[in-house]
Symmetry: C2
Amino acid sequence: MQELVLGIDVGGTNTKFGLVNKEGDVLAEGSCKTKGFPIFKDYLAHLVANVEEVCTSLPDHKIVGVGVGAPNGNYYRGTIEEAPNLEWEGTVYFTEELKGYFKNMPVILTNDANAAAIGEMTFGKAQGMKDFIVFTLGTGLGSGIVANGEVIYGSDGFAGEIGHTLVNVFGRTCGCGRKGCLETYVSATGIKRTVYKLLADYLCDSELRGVSFNDLSGHMITEAALKGDFIAEQAFEYTGRVLGMKLADTVAHFSPEAIFLFGGLVNAGDLLLKPAKYHMEDNMLRNFKGKVKLLVSGLQNKNAAVLGASSLAWKELGKNL
Amino acid sequence: MQELVLGIDVGGTNTKFGLVNKEGDVLAEGSCKTKGFPIFKDYLAHLVANVEEVCTSLPDHKIVGVGVGAPNGNYYRGTIEEAPNLEWEGTVYFTEELKGYFKNMPVILTNDANAAAIGEMTFGKAQGMKDFIVFTLGTGLGSGIVANGEVIYGSDGFAGEIGHTLVNVFGRTCGCGRKGCLETYVSATGIKRTVYKLLADYLCDSELRGVSFNDLSGHMITEAALKGDFIAEQAFEYTGRVLGMKLADTVAHFSPEAIFLFGGLVNAGDLLLKPAKYHMEDNMLRNFKGKVKLLVSGLQNKNAAVLGASSLAWKELGKNL
């Protein structure tokens, strides 16, 4: 009988999950809606039903642990707290409720970006690294920080909110209620806002002039930029510049060996990485220049959070042996 | 025979040292010039002669280890590298040379702010804390970061350069060659620059109008502010505001339990702490509000770096038992 861990990635719209063996192979996977279940218990029943259905397709196996990556997830408490992109208000006792379905095994939750960092360390390009950071560029900007070989959770479990550091005190309104946070510039939503700013600033043709704000996606901007659309290219240049400048500050805090970028926008490749690298180096303190690698995640286009969450559970199981 | 550790704090102008027992009592101390020895070996001979002289005053004892705190000190390599405030250019092999004088014992070096953080953890207010940060406000701004109970050195030993994160891209010229670094605002030198800016902006009387830039010290500004001098008070308000805004970013990275401030400027008390706290809270992400303590160092007006460097050596000796 094969032992597997259930890795869960809770997103604002959908939840993805996978059954993962110790080597990081996803033997089965599925997804279900996150949105549309204002009562958390209903969502959880729906999720578990979906997992059970996927499990029927698998040969003889046993689930021995569960790892969850979730926005505003708190590793210490197993809770999701005040997540602006989820329907559940206040504090959700995620692992406590989930243990009702998965008894006598570790059920562990962490922030989705921390899960991605653990995934990078276990199955990606950060294997063997002790000091690195993963930036996940999605609806928002998440960051998972590893120093001295350990994820930094901080005193109350919410470390790694680099998406909410300040770029411009008079800047764009952020979902967190403040202004000018990094994620209002560097994220799928951020680059969309940049495209609209550039469409206002310039008069040149762009295939994006025919798309409404609501319809515009990060994927469409990436596709347009790869085809040479000026506005889309400039949007990546601007995004990379803001990211690079803030990365110089992050490097001053941590002196990491590498910084990994993860998410759909990263498929634009050098359109994003080149300006980000240039402005990171240009703004960095002399001691750090030329030393910090800026790389595409080794789990790009895989589900880093599912893999990371599952490896977190595997790690916990390893401790208990 | 009592076993003691020699703790050394290398400053730009003077070097302080102390002979410290395991409980953190400084049984003897002294200082000597750092400036005026362009050749590093000459400085070291001068330092060791001073230490030996102080040792003659001590009853039966044995030095069993040496800890050094130095600007741009590298813990991994035992070197001082490219320190802008010291006369020695390039890389100085500090511990290697010092081991010529102190044989068969641990000789360990770290950044002066990291030493202060270790001191805070061992003998100050951070005892029992796993996640905290110490800011040392001197000629520059140093920061020592502890996460998961360990000092963060980063991949090449230079983590914790929060003094060189960006406040204003069009801001003040920094000793590091860039513009707008935090330490150009928040440090003894920074507040001096702020006083001169305010003397230019306002027309009101101030006892500081009679002092030249070269003669003005952080101590004089503190004294003037405590007596109610408007310009000096406003300089602390401005310094606290800039510090508070950047602390909000630092909290987003680390989610620390506490942040400690150390250095002469901190003797201004609430004149600095009140605006710093207000603007830290005002700029902080909701998750962190009201949770992070901003405190005066428990080693304020003691030599935190000497104590920290010595405890680093004691820790190393503990490992070898």
